[in-house]
């Protein structure tokens, strides 16, 4: 069988120093959504650019529907659609003109382009703005137009590099619906994202890369299962208390607890026993948790365990010194579990 996308030991170094890809291999089944996860600078965009023939790899091989991206780039380009990391629309053209340009450069007939473009503008709620220069568009509208442009030529393999970054929840839902409808028609989608929620919801298979290497792969469920059955979340009054609690709870489970701000997390297999024991230990140390929850592990936890990093959004908030990052994490989880 032919995989929709196949990478074999792909390597790429930029300007002789930055090793962007250090031997990446994975395969994507046709007609599925494949999620490529990783922290900033992990090499996600480089993978997408090599697969879309935008960049050449230093070594290794990559195939799209069996065609080598290095030796048959012209064929590959007729099979793919790309929505790159920055919403690549010409801001001096209208939405309709942008789609016209991309369609014509895909060598579609004029009639066909205008039909497709009208369809897509409707589907992405851009019909009203179709004849306005895109410099008047909001960030979300540009991003939607960018994704629409990647679909003009009905690609068999679609590459979406962080397609929902900067979109509001409604716009994100539109893009998700579009991705799912494309896949229902047989398109293969490779998606990079910084939203674990998005990968969890859409992708059938995931690969996590960091420092240009694949560090985990599998279905969202299998990755989460590797984390242990449940996660015990303890909220403490302040950070020093959290650190003390983390120290005190070291023996409660074979995996050491992780401390993030005012939260202590313990991955456990038998929740109830650990909860009882944890509370007893904390009481002995004179520590009273402010919140306590047992929950299913999320991809956040997987990501954290694998890369030692929070997801990019939260990391950025942390850099701002916003103390709310813990609150944000738990809010996200609550919304997911509901």
């Amino acid at each position: 069988m032919t995989l929709a996308i196949q990478l074999e030991d792909l390597r790429k170094t930029f300007a002789g120093e930055v090793r962007a890809l250090d031997g990446v291999s994975f395969g994507v089944e046709p007609g599925t959504i494949f999620g490529l996860l990783g922290p900033n600078g992990a090499g996600k965009t480089t993978v997408v650019r090599i697969l879309t023939t935008v960049l050449r790899a230093d070594s290794g091989r990559a195939y799209v529907l069996g065609h080598d991206v290095m030796t048959e780039p012209v064929v590959v380009r007729t099979l793919i659609g790309l929505a790159g990391q920055n919403a690549a629309v010409d801001e001096n053209l209208t939405g309709a003109e942008n789609l016209w340009m991309v369609g014509r450069l895909n060598h579609m007939s004029r009639a066909h382009v205008s039909e497709r473009s009208a369809q897509l503008l409707e589907q992405f709620s851009l019909a009203d703005a179709a004849n306005r220069p895109t410099k008047t568009y909001s960030g979300g509208m540009r991003r939607r137009l960018d994704v629409a442009a990647s679909l003009v030529a009905n690609p068999k393999v679609l590459f979406l590099d962080e397609p929902t970054t900067g979109l509001d929840p409604e716009g994100r839902a539109d893009v998700w619906a579009m991705i799912e409808s494309r896949v229902a028609e047989g398109t293969t989608v490779l998606l990079t994202t910084q939203y674990l929620e998005e990968a969890d919801r859409l992708a059938e298979h995931l690969v996590v890369i960091d420092h240009g290497k694949v560090i985990a792969s599998g279905t969202p469920a299998s990755l989460k299962a590797g984390m242990g059955a449940t996660v015990l979340d303890l909220g403490l009054a302040d950070e020093p208390t959290a650190l003390r609690a983390g120290e005190a709870l070291k023996g409660v489970n074979e995996k050491a607890p992780a401390v993030y701000g005012r939260t202590v997390e313990v991955n456990v297999n038998d929740g109830p026993r650990v909860v009882t024991e944890a509370l007893r230990i904390l009481e002995a140390h004179g520590i009273v948790p402010t919140t306590l929850a047992l929950r299913e592990p999320s991809l956040d936890d997987v990501f954290l365990a694998l890369t030692g990093k929070r997801t990019e959004v939260e990391e950025a908030e942390g850099l701002d010194g916003a103390p709310s990052s813990d609150g944000r994490r738990s809010r996200k989880r609550r919304s997911r579990s509901s």
């Binding site: 032919t2 089944e29 046709p30 895909n106 060598h107 579609m108 220069p133």
Partner: protein, 292 residues
């Protein structure tokens, strides 16, 4: 990966590269990109207006401020000046190519183009062709400005138009060079800054504004043989006519004229085609290979 595969359906709307060969699509893609860039110019009337103001200022400056102090054997100064200003104008207009491509890079459009099954030449050919249209527009405007400040065609309309054609060819060739700069610059502001150190010695150390004989000897060696001077001489021959030995302007000077030869037009064409032949493939290679 051992699971069974869902067969990939034949997409009925997949991009047909059928009908016509590579050349057909190269031309079609170039026209698409040209149209895209021309539409963009119509959406930026302010930019087009203000980029036209600068050459008009130069005309006024040299015609009415500096001109009276510059002796030009064989020509009235305005007759000497205007072909030089024309060349300066089209050369400066061609900087637009580097700015436009640097912007395309910055905004991720080059990334999009490189993933499309379009001709590898079309992005640059479309940009340079659109800038050629812009140069033509500016030349029409400058012809009117020239008339207004007292410039009169010294030959005939046919030769004047040949002169414009020559200038457009030269600016088109330079556009391909500026394409390389645009694709090498980190952003559009830097692209513009990178262009100026290259342009200044070409445009100002030339026979565009002053006669070569007024320069020191070492400067004359450069100024006489560099392409802008050669194109200026050719344009002056075609538009203002060859110099009249008995006419010296202002009348009180007495520099002996060494008029341009008839072969200057040929040399100007050779230079333009040479620049094009060397820089076009180099820039296309840059477009294909540049790291993003």
């Amino acid at each position: 990966m051992t699971t069974t595969a869902v067969p990939v359906p034949e997409a009925p709307l997949a991009a047909p590269s059928s009908g016509g060969g590579r050349l057909y699509w190269a031309v079609a893609d170039t026209l698409t990109v040209t149209k895209r860039n021309l539409i963009a110019y119509t959406r930026l009337p302010e930019a087009v207006f203000f980029s036209s103001v600068q050459p008009v200022m130069f005309v006024l400056l040299f015609r009415y401020v500096f001109g009276g102090a510059i002796p030009t054997p064989g020509y009235h100064y305005v007759q000497f000046l205007m072909p030089g200003i024309f060349v300066q104008t089209v050369v400066f207009t061609s900087i637009g190519t580097s700015i436009g491509l640097a912007e395309d890079l910055q905004k991720g459009l080059i990334e999009r183009f490189r993933a499309l099954p379009m001709s590898r030449w079309a992005v640059l050919a479309g940009r340079t062709t659109a800038d050629l249209c812009r140069s033509l527009f500016v030349m029409v405007l400058m012809t009117a400005v020239g008339y207004a400040v007292g410039y009169r065609i010294g030959t005939n309309v046919f030769e004047y138009l040949l002169g414009i054609l020559l200038l457009l060819l030269f600016s088109y060739a330079l556009s391909w060079g500026f394409a390389f700069i645009g694709l090498s610059a980190p952003n559009s502001e830097t692209a513009q800054l990178m262009a100026f150190p290259i342009l200044f010695p070409l445009v100002f150390a030339s026979s565009a504004f002053v006669p070569l004989q007024s320069m020191p000897g070492w400067m004359q060696v450069w100024a006489k043989h560099q392409p802008v001077s050669i194109v200026v001489s050719a344009a002056r021959d075609l538009m203002s006519g060859t110099p009249k030995p008995d006419l010296v302007f202002p009348p009180f000077t007495s520099i002996v004229s060494t008029g341009p030869t008839a072969s200057t037009v040929l040399w100007a064409v050779v230079w333009s085609l040479g620049i094009l032949a060397v820089l076009a493939p180099v820039s296309v290679r840059r477009y294909r290979r540049r790291a993003l």
